[in-house]
Each structure stands twice: as structure tokens, then as C-alpha cells.
Symmetry: D2
Subunit: 159 residues, 4 copies
């Protein structure tokens, strides 16, 4: 099915002394983008999960390729797909492009945990079903150097 | 005349270990907000000024009051007025509120400089006239502890 | 008496697309520097105050002048003096210089609050006495544009 | 041979609303740590390479595992080894631990480029020989979930 998509403008403060996006700022964009996905894609506000259900979703893994540099003022298109949806964790594929050119490709694994115990907790069922809407099962244009790409036609299960 | 206004959502990464906005992140919000003002309020993209006209607008002064804490998930309303518009610099008044409650009040002075020489340069005339649209001349509701507030009915001149 | 002093190296990530320190990063440096002052100057670790005594010290005011730009690789000398020490708050004077040239001058007001109630709490007495060691009572070289400077020979009282 | 090692203190601003290190801040620590390695391990200041030789070292790849959360005030021990040293790029293994417990494991690939052309440039020979001092050839304790770990007894070549 379709990806979750947002545009992110590269700000002055995202760039380093060389005039290109400084990589920790890319991870800030990813964090904001995943929050937007929760809010608008999963209809479950991340602050709400935290404040009302004491659920946190820390990242436990990243595989990231920065394919081309991005400069101040570029408008990046971010796309997100779910690759595997497990009982307490999920794997996301995120890509950022500019003018059709892939700039960054990310594999991210999130775990749902209880803020009270610090232990993994099951993903609320209504979120699981909404996550499937964004699954990477439908083929979409193969990026260059696509080795991190999920090949399975359906999202895999994961613990 | 009217203020320039934008809403900024408080992100997970804006907050500190106490769960409130960490003050350097407030300054990141101010930087993004002033960029939006250039883009949408002054019709002069800040990246464009930098890349095409070699104009930078560093901040040389801040007076800031943090009146109430702000937490993760709050949607802050940012307002901007011009207080003084000089030949090479301008003073802005920025306020961030939540639910009508003032959270932060900022006086910021920007200087226009040439990226090539590092020296002050005159504000492009078309920007000056647009800056006046946002002048703080019309009275607007007096915030609490308003001592940093411009009292003059018209924007002052400044070098 | 003498200032609390630390050197801070300007990192790649502190700088913006123009190659100079981006102002929100200056505030990050100030935050780290004040933490170092608690740890080494006041002999009271800020994480310890937070984790064991539930005391937080949010900033409620800043007056900041950026006098000269600072570039990647510069080693800034930060100095801190206490200006006023109140019952629940204190005012600090911070200056950052490079090669004897003043780059940034900061007036910062911290309030001690209880993380549990969010209310102001008295500064622990042992901290008050150590804060006085760094008081700005002894005259030190007057910076340019020194209007934000405390003129009183002794630290003032403040609520 | 031995790893390059530094201790990094987890600051208030590194932590998120949950009180744990926010992952983009981990990447800021990695950036600073690699700068320290250039300065102290490779005897080639990163600002010097940038300002005097117009050499930049952007990161093009990361594989990162966050194994355990880290909280405000923890002192992390960062270790760095070179895994492969190519003509224009190198792969680093970085680990951050606290009290002997592995918190983060990073594989990072840096490319040396000319800031003038944006093209890859050969690593200066004196840096290559110093990089070998930190090669991961000597076995060191196997971390948990060690699949990203280089197994080869000698650093591999890489283009």
C-alpha cells in the first residue's frame, strides 16, 4: 500500500560548517517524521501514548545510508513503509529524496515499552492494523544500492 | 498591524530529562520561526538570500523570559512583530503562548551582513517595506511582566 | 573573587551553513558549562540534585549579546560569576572569549524548583555559600557595551 | 592494537522527556568523539583539515544498535577501532559502555572528500598509517548481538 509522506524543509540549523546537512540533524528529522506518522498515519499521538498510556517507542536499531549531500533550503520528501510488524516491535523503511534523487535510506527498529517498567509491551492492536496500511508489500521503485530493502511481498513477523 | 503567526508543535526531542522544553531547543524554534517569517512574511527566502545574494542575518542580541514551562506535545503559537527597523538591523518581538498563556517572550536583534565581507549591509528596500507590515505599532494585549515590551506607537529607527 | 572557568572547543556540529557558531548551540554550551559549574564549582552534581533531591534549576531569563562571530575549531574560554544570589534564584554573568576577544556575554537567571511540585524551593545552604566564592564583587575588566553588567561591588539579594 | 578511548558525560540536554539519551544526541556524541580521534589519535585536527586542506569527512553509512538505555549523568566510555581502511574511505567500529555494560554499538563509514569539488579524495598517507594503530585486528571482548562485528584478523581494504 502507499507510503506515509511528509515534506521537511532543510533549515539553517540543520547544516554544518560545510553547508550540508549534519547527520545528527537527519536523525532529528527522522524522529519528528516518525512522530508525524504516529499522529497522522496511526491516529495515535506519540505525546498521548506517553502521557496517558505510559508507552514509549525507543529505537533499538538503525541502518542508514547517506547517498548524496543535501543543502540548506532543500525540501526533502520523506517516505515511510512498515517492513515487519511484530508483537512488541516494528521495522520501518524510511527514504528521503529531493527532486526524485534519493538522499538518505533508513532501516529503523522501534520497540514499544512501558515507561513504568522499562519492559517491552505489546503494540496496541488498533495500531497494528493501521501499521499494515503502510506495509512495504506493494513494490515501489527500487532505490540504488538497495541491499537494506525488504524483499518480502508481505510484512514479516518479528518478536 | 498584525503579527506574523505560526504554530510549533513541541517534539519529543525538544524536551529534557525533566519533560519540559530544554531552552536551547526554544532558540531552535525561534530560528525556524524567523526563517518562516522571511519566507512567508517578507517573501524573501532566507536560503535564497544566502545562496544568491550572500546575505546572512546573524542575531546579535537576545532578551528572553521563560514565563511558564512547556511540555511534550503542547502546540505553541508563535507571534512576531517588528519593533525597530534600522538601515542594517532590526529588532523583533516574539512571543510563544499555549492556550492563551504566555510561555516565552523574546526580544531579538538581527543584523544583515554580507557573507563575503562579514560586514553589515543595508536591508534590501523591498524587505524594509514588508517588515513594516508587522510593526508593533498597533497595541496588542499587554503580556504579564511586560517590561521588555516596545512602548512606542511607531517602530523606532536603529542604525 | 575568581571566576569559574572552562574551555569549550567549537565542534563541527556547533556551526551553521555560514561556518559560524549557530546561536542555539551557544545555549547548549552554556547549559553544559553551568552543569560543570555545579559539579566542579559548587561540588553538587546537577544529575545528583535531579535524581536524588528532585531539584531542577530551569532558566527563567537570558540577556545575551553576541559580539563577534566564532568559527569551527576555535577554543572558547568560558567564565562565570554570580551576580545576585537570592533565596530561590540566582543571577549569573557568563562570558565566552577567544584569544582575549569577547565573543558572547550572557546574563542568566536560574530558579531552583522542586521537580515534584514545580514550585520554587530554597537553594540548599551549602550551595549558597559556595556560590559566593564566584561572586562578581571584585572588579574585572569591563567588556565593551557593558550595560548588562552588574555594577554593585557585592552580590545583590534577589527573591 | 588498542582502541582510541574517551569518556563522555551524559548531559541534561542529551536526554529526552523519558529521561534517557535521545538518539540524535548519541550521533552528536559520535561526531565529537570522531573529531577527538582525528585530533588526538590521528594527530590531524579536523578543523585544520577543513580550513587548511579543504578536506571533509562526511559519513555515508551507519549501522547502529542501542542495546540498553542511558540516563542523565551517566559517564559513557567510548571506544573506537578501524575495521577497514581504504584509499578514500574507512570503516570504524565504535562502542559506548557504562560500567562495563555495552550501551551502543556503531559501524560508521567515513569518506574523505574535497570541499572544493565534492569528490572523494585519497586519505593523506600519514593518516593512513596512524589509522592502522587503531585497527580491530587484535581480538577484544565479543559484545552481545555481535553480527555487525568485523571478524577478520586484519583490517580489510576498501575502495
Amino acid at each position: 500500500m502507499s507510503a506515509f509522506q511528509r515534506e521537511i524543509l532543510v533549515r539553517f540549523g540543520h547544516c554544518d560548517a560545510a553547508g550540508w546537512v549534519f547527520y545528527p540533524r537527519y536523525f532529528e528529522m527522522v524522529s519528528d517524521f516518525v512522530e508525524d506518522w504516529f499522529e497522522d498515519g496511526l491516529e495515535a499521538s506519540a505525546p498521548g501514548l506517553f502521557h496517558h498510556k505510559q508507552i514509549l517507542t525507543p529505537s533499538v536499531h538503525f541502518t542508514v545510508d547517506f547517498l548524496k549531500p543535501t543543502r540548506y533550503g532543500d525540501r526533502l520528501t520523506f517516505n515511510l513503509w512498515t517492513v515487519t510488524i511484530g508483537r512488541t516491535s516494528c521495522e520501518l523503511q524510511i527514504e528521503a529524496s529531493h527532486g526524485g534523487e534519493l538522499r538518505m535510506r533508513v532501516k529503523q527498529v522501534l520497540v514499544f515499552i512501558s515507561a513504568l517498567t522499562g519492559r517491552a509491551t505489546v503494540i496496541p492492536p488498533e495500531l497494528v492494523s493501521r501499521m499494515h496500511r503502510f506495509s512495504a508489500q506493494a513494490p515501489h521503485p527500487q532505490p540504488k544500492r538497495g541491499k537494506a530493502r525488504a524483499k518480502s511481498p508481505r510484512p514479516k513477523k518479528q518478536p
